[in-house]
Symmetry: C2
Subunit: 155 residues, 2 copies
């Protein structure tokens, strides 16, 4: 639990962090719903098309977000996510398979929450659920902003 | 109020709608925090760089999301949003200026919520705030998914 607490602390740094709207005391209250997970350099967290039932928030390290192109086995990196970023938010909202492949170009520490635990969190602590969801929405909205900036560069 | 109620109904249609997780009764409870707004064909809802203090959900019609390119006065359409979609979610989370220009290629009906009213809603009705935020996160996450699909096509 102490390790998880340290990782929560790391995730709170950064203005676009999913935990931006939660204070340290809030984090203690919700930590029971989360687990920590590490991904070694070179490993794949999930592949495009995999089943989807959890989301992750990066506490340290970077993740590469890749999308399959029209050429078989050719991927393009559509994003590089770092501390505080949410990956796989659709995994707790929607049962569809993963839309992207996520891999670790370096060692990464994550905080993960399953769909089941997220649902328990928001039902039992809706005030904290609101703060967490606002942070997740901020994180995903900022990724969309960057993605649109990148699209605009192609024209 | 009846008109707003009808528009809420329209927004609930569609699996990626921001109101997907709210039932009709929930909508009645939160309608006091929203206002309806219409945008005529050819009008601009906001321009990239404008101040930002509200978000909108489309109840009918389509909005074009445009991003300035490196060439002066040249914009590229990065998305076309339809019924149920959230536009300007960052407006209620973050004080930064608008990241995109939003215009109406046809008559559009919107439901809007100011940052102040959104904050009141989530404080007084956190359970409904959770459901609304989950729907908003779904809507924005699906846009990010489409945006990544589009980026992958350039390679």
């Amino acid at each position: 639990m102490n390790k998880l607490h340290d990782e929560f602390g790391a995730c709170m740094i950064g203005e676009n962090s999913a935990f931006r709207f939660l204070c340290g005391e809030n984090m203690d209250e919700i930590s029971e719903f989360f687990e920590s997970k590490t991904v070694q350099s070179g490993e794949v967290l999930w592949k495009e098309g995999d089943p989807s039932d959890y989301m992750a928030i990066i506490s340290s390290g970077k993740l590469e977000i890749k999308k399959q192109t029209e050429i078989e086995d050719k991927h393009v990196i559509v994003g590089i996510y770092s501390s505080g970023a949410v990956v796989g938010a659709l995994g707790i909202l929607d049962g569809r398979p993963r839309a992207v492949t996520v891999s670790a170009p370096e060692d990464v520490s994550l905080i993960i929450v399953t769909r089941e635990n997220f649902s328990k969190l928001t039902k039992t602590k809706p005030e904290l659920g609101v703060k967490l969801l606002e942070g997740m929405l901020l994180s995903v909205s900022m990724r969309l902003r960057y993605s649109y900036e990148r699209l605009a560069k192609f024209f």
